[in-house]
Symmetry: C2
Amino acid sequence: MKVVSTPYEDIQIGARATYQRQITEGDVRAFATLSGDTNPLHLDDRFARTTPFDGRIVHGALLGAHLSAALATQLPGPGTVYLEERLRFRRPVRIGDTVTTELEVIEKREDKRFVRLKVEISTEAGGQVASGEALVMPPPERIELDLVDRA
Amino acid sequence: MKVVSTPYEDIQIGARATYQRQITEGDVRAFATLSGDTNPLHLDDRFARTTPFDGRIVHGALLGAHLSAALATQLPGPGTVYLEERLRFRRPVRIGDTVTTELEVIEKREDKRFVRLKVEISTEAGGQVASGEALVMPPPERIELDLVDRA
């Protein structure tokens, strides 16, 4: 599948994009390994069952990783430079949940050629699980990328 | 190595902690795989050399993963619930850089038992590369965790 970036000039206020991805057990393990975040809330069933969540939840920052992918593959797309993120984690996400990340362009800063997007993250089971904003610099030109599917 | 959490009651305003970790080629590939963020800025040397960065840079959200680990293993430590993150990516981080994440407690919210921390992220080469804030709920009790070193 090919993805194509939208350069700054072509981005419209109100433009929207969606990125959807299921979170697997392997994703949570890989995230723990690459970050060093071995919080038992995410990895240890027995411990997690003693908390108000009554079971393991997904790392909040893993939603930040999905957001990064949404920006880099959907809007503005490949070549985007990530400048600022703000995420509020509202409800737990479970392993196996399919996470939908929705973006909407809410501001274009002509002086610096930055774009601000509103971010809503949801799952079927939990409704809205996180929300926030992202500030990015879109690529100056249209970039086309071959998107490799998850192996 | 054992890590121990600091419950809400024992956390002091001004308390500080540091988390340090080198970012490897494998981390960047693993992050791309688990997130789906295949931005060529992070993965494609030839493309990245045509940008103002003159070479590949690390995903900004990977610094968010380090921040998550700093909160979960250092301060407040295991059992911490992540509520909100804000990160501004200021300078590029390169593969091979050792990233230092520094935390400082700046607010305790007695009503909700939340703690706010200031975040400064730096590398030896780049100085301050990111900064921001995190809001967390520390565990109600002291939790001890066996920290598994990176394999």
